[in-house]
Amino acid sequence: MNVWLITAIFFVACLIPCLIRCMRGTEFNRLIGFETGALIETQTLLLLSEAIHREPFYDLALALALLSLAGGLVFVHFLERWM
């Protein structure tokens, strides 16, 4: 177990408060939990790729970073327009 894996596990633990926030409160507060969770998850994928020495897995983090930006904007637009 190297330092990258330990940090990745710590990042996964940091996702628990985001998950709790996603399940409680108003829709905008849940959205904050979702967006923060996506930021932490992207860094977790980077760290896991380095921990298990699989450089092609950086593409997963890249895809998640792109899709979380687009998905967050879609959610924001929906909440602003329709809720």
Partner: protein
């Protein structure tokens, strides 16, 4: 070099912990938005810097840098968009409302200072006693 990488990873982990606990503990919506900042800016830059130091700028470094840039951009864009949507949801409009005591350029009096926006702001601060 290993110490530097460990310190950068610790900074990233601390930023993630601060963000996750902040959005859980803080009660106000706008204050809670601020806690997206540490992991999206400081944490992302620290983790990307640690990866770049470890790999010594190899072929995969371009992807890592791209992920870091995307994280910083998406953090700021999503924070602004979420705050704007929350304000529209709450008040019906994102512009300053009456009685909110927000100084705008249009609200400045039509004196000589209004031709100079910076001077107008200074004169308004003086009048309000701040």
């Amino acid at each position: 070099m290993h110490i530097v990488i460990d310190v950068l990873l610790a900074i990233g982990a601390g930023a993630a912990l601060l963000s996750s606990l902040g959005i859980l503990m803080v009660r106000d919506f706008y204050e809670r938005l601020h806690y997206m900042g540490p992991t999206g800016s400081v944490g992302a830059v620290a983790v990307v810097a640690a990866l770049l130091l470890k790999d010594s700028f190899s072929s995969s470094s371009v992807k890592v840098i791209l992920v870091g840039v995307l994280l910083v951009i998406s953090n700021s864009v999503l924070t602004h968009a979420t705050a704007r949507a929350g304000r529209i949801h709450q008040l019906g409009d994102w512009k300053p409302q009456k009685g909110e005591n927000i100084v705008t350029e249009k609200a400045s009096p039509p004196d000589s200072a209004s031709r100079h926006p910076t001077r107008a702001r200074h004169s308004q601060h003086k009048r309000s006693g701040k």
